[in-house]
């Protein structure tokens, strides 16, 4: 049986924290509109700048620069893989689903069918001090999509 720590830091999280898919931040020169968001967690100094491009109603590209803990960096990497090519509306509801799991204090287990690899972050919700780490990139994506719409 896994310890609490191994539940929190699942291998997929540790791997993504190093692989950092979508990083570094890149210029987008394709079709559509681009939005960008900078998020900072003043408690620990975790930081991310995320750029999302929306073309034809779908998320065409996500890139980001970030500095922070394994949870925050892995979350950004997993999110990048998950949302590329998905319809914008679907991505918005994914963000909502992820937020609901994160805020559940361990009561809601993420649906892997919906959230894919992001379901690995379910364990984070039992650590209220770390929920912001996991949410950082998702909030940045949400704001980027809003900005791209405007």
């Amino acid at each position: 049986m896994n310890t609490g720590l191994e539940q929190l830091y699942q291998q997929i999280i540790l791997d993504h924290s190093k692989a950092r898919h979508g990083s570094p931040l890149a210029e987008y020169d394709g079709e559509g509109r681009v939005g960008e968001s900078h998020q900072l967690n003043p408690v620990c100094g975790d930081e991310i700048t995320l750029r999302a491009a929306v073309a034809g109603g779908s998320v065409a590209a996500v890139t980001w620069d970030g500095a922070g803990c394994a949870i925050s960096m892995a979350s950004a990497s997993v999110l990048t893989d998950l949302v590329q090519g998905l319809p914008r509306d679907e991505v918005i509801s994914l963000v909502d689903s992820f937020r609901e799991v994160m805020r559940s204090r361990g009561r809601i287990e993420a649906d892997e069918e919906v959230l894919g690899d992001a379901a690995a972050f379910s364990g984070v919700s039992r650590y209220p001090a770390r929920v912001k780490c996991a949410m950082l990139a998702w909030v940045a994506l949400e704001e980027s999509l809003l900005a791209a719409n405007g």
Binding site: L5, C44, G45, A70
Partner: protein, 443 residues
């Protein structure tokens, strides 16, 4: 694990005083006075290494506060009934105990919420003086364009932001005594920063990140030579080593109760009596006045001048009990014990691959505190890993963002000790830290 044979003494011990050094056996007895230290976290015995942030409370402190509410609770300095007199006595006795603890006179010890409020009190008094409040006697506190306020690059935000604000309000300039790449104060540059236009020099006695003890004597001499005031942030020294304000010869000194076995919500400002009695007040209202008319008011002398409104009475009483507990244990002995622990921390951490300890290298003086960077693992993850093993440490920038930036870091992990920390706890911590990089696959 490294064994430290001889403690490095940070200040000369009193010649002729002989006493037994603290031992693990005594520390285990001391721990019985602290109920929380017997608790478990995540199924493991709590290893509390975050006393630099807040310390734990002995039963005598908890009882002092409870006893006050059960037997003496009343407003102080008003009312003639017996309880009011008892409450006032308890409040003022605590002031005397805490003043004596730092070598001050009773009327030189002003209660504040914490060190942060103490620094703000002085900073706002200075801008009130700049606005003409306090008349001629307060002129020496006034700052304005052409004047400088000096702090160091290693300050806690509490000893930085109040001065940034004072500079912004008054047009004075904020200047910094630099630190070198290892975080040591560049004393050789201090003389060019502390100049004839300097009105106050505010600096920390012991750094909450680096663990260094700053050269108070040298900085005070530089300040005095140009007629500048001095303020010492003693948050990390008053709880951990003998502090005598008269020997340090500073004008102001601040510290927080919750870092020295006391409750939260209480701290103190020491100021030389002639300064406090000339300084305009910061917070104003009831209990700090002599005569009030519709148009104006006359103020009481220190310390009441700076204690407007109903005060933190039970907390002050409990802080008095905390000072007594520390005095009974002996501040010199506590300092020596923590010096041993600090050296053990640094030597042990330095021996672990991929760890960079901030501040003085092993073998150099430091308090019982070590902040460090783990190569390839973020401090937040280090803290989480240690918490899983019941070990409580501080992670982040420790309210010193500019210092971290200066050292090329955003966040570090910090372990800090106190009189109730055992060498076993330090070793448990060191063994756990050795497991951090393997767990996270850092290489």
């Amino acid at each position: 694990m490294p064994v430290v044979e001889t403690p490095v003494t940070l200040t000369p011990s009193d010649a002729g005083t002989s006493y037994a050094a603290m031992t693990d056996a005594e520390v285990h007895r001391i721990r019985n006075d602290f109920p929380i230290l017997g608790s478990e976290v995540n199924g493991k015995p709590l290893v509390y290494l975050d006393s630099g942030a807040t310390s734990q409370n002995p039963v005598s402190v908890l009882e002092a506060e409870q006893e006050f509410y059960e037997q003496r609770n009343a407003a102080v300095h008003r009312g003639a009934h017996t309880l009011a007199v008892d409450a006032t006595d308890a409040y003022e006795d605590a002031r005397t105990a805490v003043a004596r603890f730092i070598g001050a006179r009773t009327d030189e010890l002003v209660w504040t919420s914490n060190a942060t409020e103490g620094i703000n009190l002085v900073a706002y008094a200075m801008s009130n003086a700049a606005a003409g409040r306090g008349g001629e006697a307060a002129r020496r506190f006034a700052v304005g364009p052409g004047d400088s306020i000096v702090v160091t690059e290693m300050e806690h935000h509490a000893n930085l932001i109040p001065w940034q604000e004072l500079a912004a309000r008054t047009g004075a300039e904020l200047s910094f005594i630099p630190v070198d790449d290892d975080g040591a104060l560049r004393l050789e540059d201090a003389a060019s920063v502390i100049t004839g236009s300097t009105r106050i020099v505010a600096f920390s006695h012991a750094s909450n990140v680096l663990g260094t003890i700053n050269p108070v004597r040298e900085l005070v001499q530089l300040a005095q030579a140009v007629g500048a005031l001095t303020l010492l942030d003693a948050c990390q020294s008053v709880p951990h080593l003998p502090v005598d304000v008269k020997a340090l010869d500073v004008d102001f000194l601040v510290f927080s109760g919750h870092k020295m076995l006391g409750p939260t919500g209480i701290g103190a400002l020491y100021g030389r009596a002639e300064l406090l009695n000339a300084m305009p007040p910061f917070l104003t209202g009831g209990s700090m006045i002599t005569t009030v008319t519709m148009q104006g008011a006359e103020y009481l002398p220190s310390p009441n001048r700076f204690e407007a409104g109903t005060q933190r009475i039970s907390q002050a009483v409990a802080l008095g009990a905390a000072a007594n507990y520390l005095t009974e244990t002996g501040m010199q002995r506590i300092e020596e014990w923590e010096t041993v622990l600090g050296a053990r921390l640094v030597e042990g951490l330095t021996a672990i691959d991929g760890i960079r300890v901030l501040g003085p290298a092993a073998g150099l003086p430091r308090i019982g505190l070590a902040a460090f960077d783990v190569d390839g693992v973020h401090a937040h993850d280090v803290g989480q890993f240690l918490d899983d093993k019941g070990i409580a440490v501080r992670v982040g920038h420790h309210c010193a963002q500019p210092l971290h930036r200066r050292l090329g870091l955003t966040a570090t992990t910090r372990a800090s000790t106190y009189l109730y920390t055992t060498t076993d706890e330090v070793d448990t911590f060191l063994r756990a830290v050795a497991g951090v990089r393997p767990f996270f696959g850092a290489h």
